[in-house]
Amino acid sequence: MSEDKSKKTESKADDSEDASNETSEASLSKASSSSSDQSSEFNEGIAEKVEDVVEDIVDDVKDKVEDVKEKVEDLVEDVKESLDDAKHTAESAISEVFGDEHEIRLQEDGEVKGIAAYFNHPDHLMYAAEQTRDSDYEKFDAYSPFPVHGMDEAMGLERSWIPWVTFAAGSTGFATAFGLQFGIMGFDWPMVFGGRPFIAWPSFVPILFELTVLFAGVTTAFVMLAAAGCFRKPFIIDKDITNDQFVLWISADDESFDIEDVITFMRKLNPHKIRAVREGHK
């Protein structure tokens, strides 16, 4: 984008240079033609004098045009230089965000999935998450090598609903063990063991407990992993997240997502790196 813009401004500068040259030459030819009309009606002496004067004037004008031309050329050089500078700044800004291969990347090798801001310290990430929570962005996340305490509040997340799953699964396990033992021992095949009643419920307690724990534990683990986004192909933003990097991520799925706006927003959070991550990046 900005590269095209700079090209356009460059060509505009060239046009204006040509235009200024044309106008100065046109005015010169007009002056010379009017003087030759007069020389045919008056005598030659006067004509020569006039010619001399005109020549002087023409020389002066030519000198002045030369000066102007030089000045214009200098100006053009300056403009070109400053344009180059601007281009470099733009390029470095882009490469900072898009990585070194930005030129290839800009030619679209996958849509932008989101933008990542990198931090070194968990507290810094926490601050960034708080700022994002208070902004318009909804689909954001904080990536860290280990759980950061207080991050749920910083991101504005409510308590996890996992305990309800544990409770429901535990109740199911309890009901299963209850039905199994009372059903079998009491109804399906009642038998007398040691003169005790068919349904000697105290001896059912251990299995009631064990199946409650078994159902609750296994279900909790699987549901948690599914809720945490496991069991599908992961989108790994950066390999250093599992090492020592803390990343604030704003997803491109967000309704108010706009690359430039997000980058501007993230710059205010003072990360040490901002990166746009594309699908299939390495």
Partner: protein, 478 residues
């Protein structure tokens, strides 16, 4: 401020005389991870062992363990093809080597769950360095233990019908839910499953770390599948932490229930030496005692072989030694209580049993048990001994030995002489008994050594969470 190092000062590098709030000395504990490590160092130090070829030391240890594991398989095969009589089992000692080893290995497992669940609920942060290896130990110990009750049926391919409520064509003739042996099936299989789940849930973020470090595409693929697609986002972490708390809350009563139910196998019968109400707490304390003994044995070797001294520091070992000392006391109290109650009850069979335990034909087993479990751990009262790694290592070996003999005494000494002198007998270890006992240790060690090679032996993300972020963070490039 005095310059001489006082005994209580060891392990507290920051020490200030009269610096405390009430005028006493102010002591700051050593950080959990020493050596000025950064977060990136944790990954390098722990994960590197899964990324390089095994050392000769590892191969040596593995080959010995694997040879012993084969001895184990041989013992099991001979027992299946010939019959359970290849072991020394007879009348009256019908529960020999199988139940001794079953109870021993299940007990070993308890320390892993204690460290990962109970110490988690008590917020004992030093557990982070050892919980991974302790949980792995639990999983492999339970796997080893499960072999024994399955195989001691003699016909393990029928065992499913005897052990599980499977609909069948015999009536249906169901299993007996009134039997402690059946409770045991449910308790141990639940314990094994929950231990594996707990262990694996803890592993997922660390396997993701190894996946992200992997260079070889096949390695990346395998660890990628094992990591289940974990990416470390906070919308995942929040569920993860809650689920971990739930699992810890479930595993805590579970671990207490398992050895309680194992002790019911004995306590519900009427054999002198078994028929006591003290058994559940006594077994649970014994399990934790033996488990911590084994954790110490394994971690002392592991920290040396894998150069993890900065993560598993002497302070960690000292904390574990304190747990060993405490549980030794609980077990010792139970031992003495048994004698007192046997005397006080006035029951002839009980009184005879406990004198038989000390002075009967198996007097040596009884004395080994009391010496190793009650007397030797008393050395841990001394701070210098708790912090001396070689002495601690030897003590833990005695603990392992003593706890194996505790089960030997409970099973064999109780059974070989009951109320009727006409039915007394002796139980002698045959070749198959030795093969199963020593072989099971080889089987367990083989699994543990493979674990050390392919999975991170320290829970990296938990260790990182308790490091000082101001010191451990990557330095920002200016």
């Amino acid at each position: 401020m005095s310059t001489a190092i006082r005994p209580e000062q060891i392990g507290h590098p920051e020490f200030e005389e009269h610096g405390g709030p009430l005028g006493g000395p102010n002591m700051v504990r050593e950080t959990l991870v020493t050596g000025g490590k950064k977060w990136a160092d944790v990954n390098n130090d722990v994960a590197c062992h899964t990324e390089r070829k095994p050392t000769k030391l590892w191969w040596g240890a593995f080959l010995i363990s694997f040879a012993l594991a084969n001895l184990f398989f041989f013992g099991l095969a001979s027992e299946v093809f010939v019959g359970v009589g290849v072991t020394g089992i007879n009348h009256p000692v019908g529960w020999g080597v199988f139940i001794i080893n079953f109870v021993f290995w299940i007990g070993i497992g308890h320390a892993g769950t204690l460290i990962s669940a109970i110490l988690f609920l008590f917020r004992q942060n030093w557990r982070t360095a050892i919980n991974r290896s302790a949980e792995a130990m639990t999983v492999f110990a339970v796997m080893t233990a499960l072999v024994f009750p399955l195989m001691h049926t003699g016909r393990p391919w029928y065992a499913a019908y005897w052990l599980l409520p499977i609909p069948n064509g015999r009536g249906p003739l169901w299993i007996n839910f009134n039997s402690p042996l059946l409770w045991d099936v449910f308790a141990v299989s639940t314990y094994g499953t929950i231990s594996i789940v707990f262990w694996y849930v803890g592993l997922v973020p660390d396997i993701a770390t190894i996946r992200d470090r992997a260079v070889h595409p096949i390695r990346k693929k395998i660890y990628g599948l094992m990591s289940l697609g974990w990416v470390g986002k906070n919308r995942g972490w929040r569920h993860y932490e809650t689920a971990y708390l739930m699992l810890a809350g479930l595993a805590t009563p579970l671990v207490l229930s398992v050895h309680t139910i194992v002790s019911f196998d004995f306590a519900v019968s009427v054999i002198p030496g078994w028929h006591t109400t003290i058994f559940p707490p006594y077994f649970v304390a014994g399990a934790i005692f033996s488990g911590f003994g084994m954790v110490l044995t394994l971690t002392i070797i592991m920290r040396k072989v894998f150069a993890l001294e900065d993560y598993i520091t002497v302070n960690h070992l000292e904390s574990m030694a304190k747990v060993v000392l405490l549980t030794s006391f609980v077990v010792g109290t139970a031992y003495l209580t048994e004698f007192i109650i046997a005397y006080y009850s006035g029951v002839e069979g009980e009184r005879f049993h406990f004198s038989n335990r000390l002075f009967g034909p198996y007097w040596w087993a009884g004395w080994i048990m009391y010496t190793c479990n009650m007397a030797i751990p008393q050395l841990l009262w001394f701070k210098a001994i708790r912090r001396s790694i070689p002495i601690l290592f030897v003590i833990t070996l005695f603990v392992n030995l003593g706890m194996w003999f505790e089960r030997y005494v409970i099973v064999v000494t109780s059974l070989h002489r009951d109320y009727l002198p006409s039915s007394w007998g002796m139980y002698n270890f045959q070749f198959a008994d030795w093969a199963l006992t020593i072989g099971s240790a080889g089987f367990f060690m083989s699994l543990f050594l493979i674990f050390c090679r392919v999975l991170p032996t320290i829970c990296m993300f938990e260790v990182k969470a308790f490091m000082d972020p101001d010191k451990a963070a990557r330095e920002t490039e200016v």
